[in-house]
Amino acid sequence: MVRIDTELLSNRRVAEGYFELRFRWPAAGRPAPGQFLTVRAREGSDPLLRRPFAFASHDGTRDEATIVIQERGSATRALATLEAEAKLDLLGPLGHGFAFPERGTEPVLVAGGIGVGPMLFLRAALEAAGTKSRFVLGARTAALVPEALLPRGAGVEVRTDDGSLGAKGTAADAVTALLPEARAALYACGPAPLMAALDRIATERGWPYQAAVEEWMACGVGACMGCAVPLKSGGFLRACADGPVLDGRLVKWD
């Protein structure tokens, strides 16, 4: 974990309201897919808190990394307008990333909306390790699909709610369409309804399911107990320090 003042290398719009920020990132802080960083979007008290974003890629040879962000409120709006050479106050990598799939299982990566960042990173890491994976991206509509970022090659599917790109339907539909007897290992990041749907599929079919969760965060390092993720068994885990990657079958999604 490092806290650095680093430099933005580029900022490009990759879909409607989606931006890819590329920045210098030191070797000392090598991130794993699923891990995240927090950024102070600007000086002063508006916004006040650091904001968490998942790593979307890391290039260890060039000391660069990226995040993909969606404009939602004041922090993401400020980040979206930053230009190359802007300073970035970053803290990371934080939390626990995805574990690689067990031998004999086929990794199925599911990204819902802005959940795409960590899944892209995982896809690249699996590929680098010689592991093939399926990649399903679900979005509301074509304009919200960051096509330039999508992995090339086989096994990449897009679903949109309105059918404007890829087949009409949700990412969960695509997963349901897989053969029940496949030995899939689910990996996902996306909105709660998607995560819950995958939970049902995974539980039914006995598939492992690694879910990257999102919760409001204050500290990002496990100190404040603010980012509680409720478990089906009762009790909570901290999204930041126990997650963000958790066993999706244990999480209470609603």
Partner: protein
């Protein structure tokens, strides 16, 4: 690009013959400097240890410890508001037994002073936590969080009733000779009354302020942002309320006052010290900048050098009124 050297000791290497005395006395305890980290924002000292030199802190005020383990409140527990943070963590903590077994040894291993924040639903709860820790060898001191709703008095917080504040302070006082701090709630008509009650009942110091009661609503979802509906407001937004409280309390009691609420910079801390505080705590700011407390400390020391102020306790006398 450069790694922030968050572990740099305050003061630095330049030889200035003028060396202000940063120490602060709280009852039997001497803190090496006035800047601590506030309860609930620094866990039990482990999580932030990679990001700053915890030994350089004036004190760690731990997350609250209760007799029994508590899972805490339902999620969501956090909401950001203008220049503020609402939280309803709900005293999530491993409970006395696990605290003593798993957390206390690591805390003791740090050179930094540790003040355990204590909470409960009854007076007896507070006493049991303090007795339990005393029995295991003790810590440097205790801070009584009397702002949590008290079942016995109909859901009102202990901290809003001077008689209950006196009762819990008195009872804990009998259980320990160590530094005893009572943390005052700002959600009262007159904070001087509860401060008085704590002083008369034997507290070595009071700290102020705990969080303000607040609420935020997600208009789109038509739901309170916090699962518990209301929560505690902290951060820069509450600083003026905290400074006013410390100003009032420090003129009402003779024991030291520890000021907190919205301290982000050394300038903010100096507002509290000028208003009458003897020490300060940094809470929400640590979330924003993990080394905030140490930057605050450096800034206070630099200011004391620049203004040739010999002791922290002298700062409060510099306010021109």
């Amino acid at each position: 690009m450069g790694l922030n050297d968050a572990t740099r000791a305050p003061g630095g290497a330049e030889r200035d013959p003028f060396a202000p005395d940063l120490s602060v006395r709280i009852g039997p305890l001497v803190l090496p400097n006035p800047v601590g980290v506030a309860s609930g924002t620094f866990g039990y000292g482990e999580e932030y240890a990679a990001l700053l030199d915890t030994d350089a802190l004036g004190a760690i005020y731990t997350k609250a410890v209760t007799v029994e383990p508590r899972a805490g409140n339902p999620a969501p527990r956090l909401a950001e508001t203008p220049a503020g943070l609402l939280n309803s963590i709900g005293l999530a903590n491993p409970g006395l037994e696990t605290f003593v077994r798993d957390k206390l040894p690591a805390l003791r291993a740090r050179r930094c002073r540790t003040i355990v924040n204590v909470a409960g639903a009854t007076v007896d709860d507070y006493v049991r936590v303090v007795e339990g820790i005393e029995a295991s060898g003790g810590v440097d001191g205790y801070e009584l969080n009397v702002s949590c709703p008290n079942v016995k008095s109909g859901g009102m917080a202990f901290g809003t009733d001077p008689r209950l504040v006196a009762l819990v302070t008195e009872s804990v006082r009998r259980a320990t000779k160590r530094a005893l701090v009572v943390k005052l709630s700002p959600n009262v008509t007159d904070i001087a009354e509860t401060a008085h009650a704590a002083e008369d009942a034997g507290a070595d110091a009071v700290s102020a302020i705990n969080t303000l009661v607040g609420m935020a609503i997600d208009v789109k979802a038509r739901r309170p942002r916090l699962a518990m509906k209301t929560g505690g407001l902290s951060g820069p937004a509450v600083k003026p309320v905290g400074v006013a409280a410390v100003y009032r309390v420090s003129r009402a009691v003779k024991i030291p006052v520890i000021g907190l609420g919205g301290i982000m910079t050394a300038g903010d801390a100096l507002e509290y010290l000028l208003a009458g505080a003897d020490a300060v705590q940094v809470g929400t700011a640590t979330f924003v900048e993990p080394d905030a407390a140490l930057r605050v400390l450096e800034g206070i020391e630099a200011w004391m050098r620049e203004n040739r102020v010999a002791r922290v306790a002298d700062i409060k006398n510099l306010l021109e009124e």
